[in-house]
């Protein structure tokens, strides 16, 4: 009796308040997304290197502000797709178009390697990310605030060589964020990190994506990471999109929850179809 009495108001409050917070956040994100995220449409995209056809006709629409994970076996063409979106390779056939006119600073890539300039201090490395606005008077202030965002403002005067792997990757993230990109492409950004650093980096990535509302495209070989971070998972096989899966699991997602595990299991099953090794799944 007593328990029930106590339970109800507490329950009501627990539902009400986060709902309110979530709504406010969603509202903000919607407003931001209108301003920030870019939608992306790909039609009939093909890419060959010599005789080797890596992408064989990709059709894809990504709405503004969505976070999409691209998974697939190594050599399936997922990194090539990302490099094409980022403009790092030339298209063999097909089109990639963004919702609106883009500046060079609107699309940023983060690689598996941090690719920091070893001869520049952390702050100047972040300033590199400003692109053509590098020389503007507020460049340093903007680089500083990007460092605050990734929690490394105390390392601004350090050389990259003294940072740990995770810290270097956070500086690379700050460099990618500093120009306020509207599309951010991640090419296995956490691939070289240890398990614990990975988890904290995943949380950081999710947080900045929620705060800034850019369209995120994440290439990863880690299906667990894909379902934990993305709204939508694309499975690429033989240069085509084999599966397009919406991840309708509310955020914040609890690591190791049954829902995530089930989804991860079914995607893995898809990935491994056709190989002999499906018996133990």
């Amino acid at each position: 009796m007593q328990e029930a009495l106590r339970f109800r108001p507490a329950d009501a409050e627990a539902v009400d308040q986060p709902d309110f917070v979530k709504q406010a956040r969603l509202l903000r994100r919607d407003a931001d997304a209108l301003l920030r995220g870019l939608s992306l449409t790909i039609r009939g995209l093909r890419k060959s290197f010599g005789d080797n056809e890596v992408l064989r006709g990709i059709d894809l629409h990504i709405p503004a502000g969505q976070s999409v994970a691209i998974v697939g076996r190594s050599g399936c063409g997922k990194s090539t797709l990302l490099r094409l979106i980022a403009g790092l390779e030339t298209i063999t056939a097909g089109t990639i178009s963004f919702g609106e006119e883009t500046r060079a600073e609107d699309v940023r890539v983060m690689f598996q390697e941090p690719r920091l300039l070893p001869w520049a201090r952390v702050l100047s490395n972040v300033e590199v990310g400003l692109g053509r606005e590098r020389t503007s008077p507020d460049a340093q202030a903007r680089a500083d605030s990007a460092l605050v965002e990734v929690g490394l403002d105390d390392k601004r005067a350090q050389w990259p060589a003294v940072l740990s792997g995770g810290q270097k990757q956070r500086v690379a993230l700050a460099r990618a964020l500093v120009s306020r990109p509207r599309v951010l492409a991640f090419d296995e950004p956490l691939g070289a990190l240890d398990a614990l650093t990975r988890i904290s980096m995943q949380r950081l990535l999710e947080r900045v994506w929620q705060d800034q509302g850019f369209t995120a495209i994440l290439v990863t070989h880690d299906v667990a990471e894909a379902v934990a971070l993305a709204d939508r998972v694309l499975v690429i096989e033989d240069g085509r999109i084999a599966h397009d899966i919406d991840v309708n699991i509310p955020r914040p997602r609890r690591r190791g929850s049954a829902e995530l595990a089930a989804l991860e299991g079914s995607i893995l099953k898809n990935l491994l179809q056709g190989t002999e090794d499906t018996s133990d799944l």
């Binding site: 520049a120 692109g131 060589a161 003294v162």
Partner: protein, 268 residues
Amino acid sequence: MSLIESLPRVRRLRLPRADGLIPWIVPLAIILIWQVACVTGFVSARVLPAPSDVALAGWKLLLSGELVRNIWVSFWCASVGFLIGGSIGFAFGLANGLSQLSSKLTDTTLQMVRNIPHLALIPLVILWFGIDESAKLFLVALGVFFPIYLNTLHGIRTVDPQLIEMGRIYGMTDGELFRRVIFPGALPSIFVGLRFALGIMWLTLIVAETIAASSGLGYMAMQAREFMLIDVVVLSILIYALLGKLADSASRALERLTLSWHPAFQKH
């Protein structure tokens, strides 16, 4: 109490000074043993004069102004020859590292010329320039050209392509890319070339001054040999050693200054 307090202070004071002195212990010991060997008659003065005699000869030459004049001539030839050959080598290294066309046009030729030992040109150089400073300048410039050229080229070609791609993605212009990525990336290799070149610079100068010169330290040594002034010969050899050490220290200091980002140069 006072002893405990004073201990760390004493150690802090003594250590850096001792660190600076350690490299000089061996040279000083050699000079000391050498002096003792000469004074006791273990080594004949005709074979090797005592360090004190060498110092005395140096003092006399210093008073007559001959020593300063010859050191100045050698130093001038070394630095001007180094600057000329080094700048041309650096320019070719940059051009061939950055431009395919330039590399195709000149690299093969330069690689062929590189295989000729530059000192083999001495007879020709004497015929062309006679035996004054220009002959020495030419040989030094030719000698330092190749290490600077090769290492600059190598440095630029081995700059991490991922960093170059990163620079391009972030919208760097060609000039910026060179200034912020390619040149700093090539710098460690350029310094390797610089130190090789300094070694070759002294070697070339000594040989050239000994064979084809009318002034300079090598010439002074050859003149002294004719008059059996063995102390002057030893003196000029020692001065060469000091000048070489000086050039090396200067390049190290420059390296420390410009490569402070490099893990090898970080003290903490």
